[in-house]
């Protein structure tokens, strides 16, 4: 059912925005561009839809899916529903390494990008994300158990460090750099092009291919590391895969859209209430629901203060923080988490 909501959301959400466009026009543009049909469309409308709206809407779905998938996978790895790329500082470290690259390596970046043929920003943000999730996991784990307090405090420390680092860079940056720094810390889906959509599609597909088959082993891990091993789960490779996929998906998402928090926390939490905790359900459902949620959140962000727009990261944080607090309260009451 969720699968059917995705294309519908894409079309309706594309019609929402500063310029008024109806859904039929979107279908016409898609038919013309994708199926190469001969359909009459106003060139201006076509430009808005094909170059601005569609890449943006698709990106919101891809990023939402990536973040929610990462959240669900991290919660499985940490055996705790409070884990999330933004809370544990994975997103902000990605933003930090990206900012360092922009400010300190800015002048060389373009020439490197051309000579090496590598997307430098996503790469640096991937390194930051992977390093931080590895660090947190190593910190929080003692004798095969995850210390929840250490995990959350470690996240606070990394968030603070990244915040301070970005603050320092803001001080050093020139005007143009400053604008992109603000963009990275607040999160925005504006100005997305098709190349970026392509990159994110590849990353998400890779993430899904690696993480979805781990569902059974993530279930087993909920009994504890040793117990999962007694059930024949390859725990070490599972950890490595999840650390790398989370680093990759979160890293690239941050590089392209900045820090969009709490999607990875809220989506799996709601789905657990609806369909239970089994990862066979939770992982794919999180990816789908995360995509849908961010698609609509972005549509909302575009119109709520039109013709300006709200940074999407601000919106998700506004909605997500209360859910985090509710989870913390529940944890006190039931001891679960």
């Amino acid at each position: 059912m969720l699968l059917a909501v995705v294309p519908i959301s894409t079309i309706i959400s594309s019609s929402i925005g500063a310029a008024d466009i109806d859904s039929m026009e979107i279908l016409s543009v898609m038919a013309k561009r994708i199926l190469a049909l001969d359909v009459e469309v106003k060139p201006q409308t076509e430009a808005i839809i094909w170059n601005i709206r569609l890449p943006r809407v698709l990106m919101s779905i891809l990023v939402g899916a990536s973040l929610a998938l990462c959240g669900a996978a991290m919660q499985g790895l940490f055996r705790n529903p409070l884990a999330d790329p933004s809370i544990l500082g994975v997103s902000s470290s990605a933003a930090l390494t990206t900012s360092i690259t922009i400010v300190l390596l800015g002048p060389y970046m373009l020439s490197w990008q051309e000579s090496l043929g590598l997307p430098i920003l996503p790469l640096s943000s991937f390194i930051g994300a992977t390093a931080s999730i590895y660090l947190i996991f190593a910190l929080a784990r003692s004798h095969g158990k995850i210390q929840v307090a250490t995990m959350l405090l470690g996240g606070i420390a990394i968030n603070a460090l990244a915040g301070a680092g970005i603050g320092l860079l803001t001080y050093m940056a020139d005007d143009a750099q400053l604008r992109s720094l603000t963009f990275w810390t607040l999160g925005s889906l504006g100005g997305i092009n098709w190349t970026q959509v392509g990159l994110m599609t590849v990353v998400l597909t890779l993430g899904l291919l690696i993480v979805l088959p781990l569902a059974k082993n993530l279930n087993a891990l909920s009994l504890g590391e040793s117990e999962a091993r007694y059930l024949g789960s390859p725990i070490e490779s599972l950890k490595l895969k999840i650390v790398l996929v989370t680093g990759l998906c979160t890293g690239v998402a941050v590089a392209l859209c900045g820090v969009i928090g709490f999607v990875g926390l809220v989506v799996p939490h709601i789905l657990r209430l609806v369909g239970g905790g089994q990862h066979q359900f939770l992982l794919p459902a999180s990816a789908l629901a995360g995509g849908i949620l961010l698609c609509w959140a972005d549509a909302f962000a575009r119109v709520i203060v039109a013709p300006a727009e709200l940074p999407i990261g601000v919106l998700t944080a506004l909605a997500g923080s209360p859910v985090f607090l509710i989870l913390l309260l529940q944890r006190q009451k039931t001891g679960y988490a």
Partner: protein, 279 residues
């Protein structure tokens, strides 16, 4: 089937186990007993390959235990540790299904569901199959975990190895005996069972062999009648005991000597109450 040859394990210079040798034959239930800190759980962790012995080695099915792959081992050996936690919300039967994980790749088939059903009946946990694991009582959770261990092994070609670390925790008297009888039946089908337990009388009643440990050393290993000697046990547990014959069974009955037991009245009671207020 399982042989331990001179197993030792140290952390730094402190010995947790030293020179342990025993063997589990097909069809046998072996109990491991001993005071707190004797090394019982360390032995389970060595056998389940959480720890690697510093000296000595295990063989299982005539091959070195360490030569088996994880998944291969998971199909032949189940472990139940003392404190099993579950960090996600699941129904009891979904927890038991985890025992089938080594046997299927993506989706369980009918045989897997049958195994779950059978294991839950064996451990009398089937009445709460559909309930949320976290909402069960301690004893019910323990029975669900036991069902998980039973459905992990015992449905294809044996012999299997079942390692239980204090499985009687939280179980009432009826379920303690029921569980041990199930373990006996499981062993009788040609498998090896090793149980860590504190209750010497249950150990004497249900096991073929008892391995008695104290302060990392192997004190005695043999049939219940051989191990349960009054002077030996009194020495190990630092409390005076007597061994008498069981009124209806042919196994020893261990009782604590009256002279060492705590008097029920007098000044002793006072200290107990003061202790209580302190806590």
């Amino acid at each position: 089937m399982l042989k331990a040859n001179g197993i030792s394990y140290y952390i730094k210079d402190k010995a947790l186990l030293e020179g342990i040798s025993f063997s589990l034959a097909k069809g046998e239930v072996t109990s491991v007993a001993g005071p707190n800190g004797a090394g019982k759980s360390t032995l389970i962790r060595l056998l389940s390959r959480d720890l690697v012995p510093k000296t000595g080695s295990f063989t299982w099915r005539d091959k070195p235990l360490k030569s088996f792959k994880e998944l291969e081992m998971a199909k032949q050996r189940a472990v139940l540790t003392q404190k099993t936690q579950l960090s996600m919300i699941l129904q009891a039967e979904e927890v038991v299904m985890m025992g089938r994980y080594p046997h299927y790749k993506s989706y369980p088939n009918k045989q897997d569901f049958d195994c779950v059903q059978k294991a839950m009946e064996q451990t009398t946990s089937d009445p709460f199959a559909k309930r949320i694991y976290q909402q069960l009582s301690g004893g019910e959770q323990q029975r669900v975990q036991l069902a998980r261990a039973f459905c992990q092994i015992g449905n294809e070609q044996g012999p299997y190895l079942l390692l239980l670390d204090e499985p009687l925790n939280n179980l009432d008297l009826q379920h303690q005996h029921h569980l041990l009888r199930v373990c006996r039946d499981f062993a009788a089908a040609g498998n090896c069972v090793l149980i860590v337990m504190h209750d010497l009388n249950l150990a004497a009643q249900y096991s073929d062999k008892i391995l008695l440990l104290n302060q990392a050393q192997q004190i005695a290993y043999g049939s219940p009648a051989e191990v349960c000697k009054a002077d030996l046990l009194s020495d190990v547990y630092q409390i005076k005991m007597q061994v008498v014959s069981h009124p209806t069974g042919d196994f020893p009955l261990i009782v604590v000597d009256h002279s060492t037991s705590v008097p029920r009245s007098g000044p002793q009671k006072k200290t107990l109450t003061t202790n209580k207020t302190i806590y």
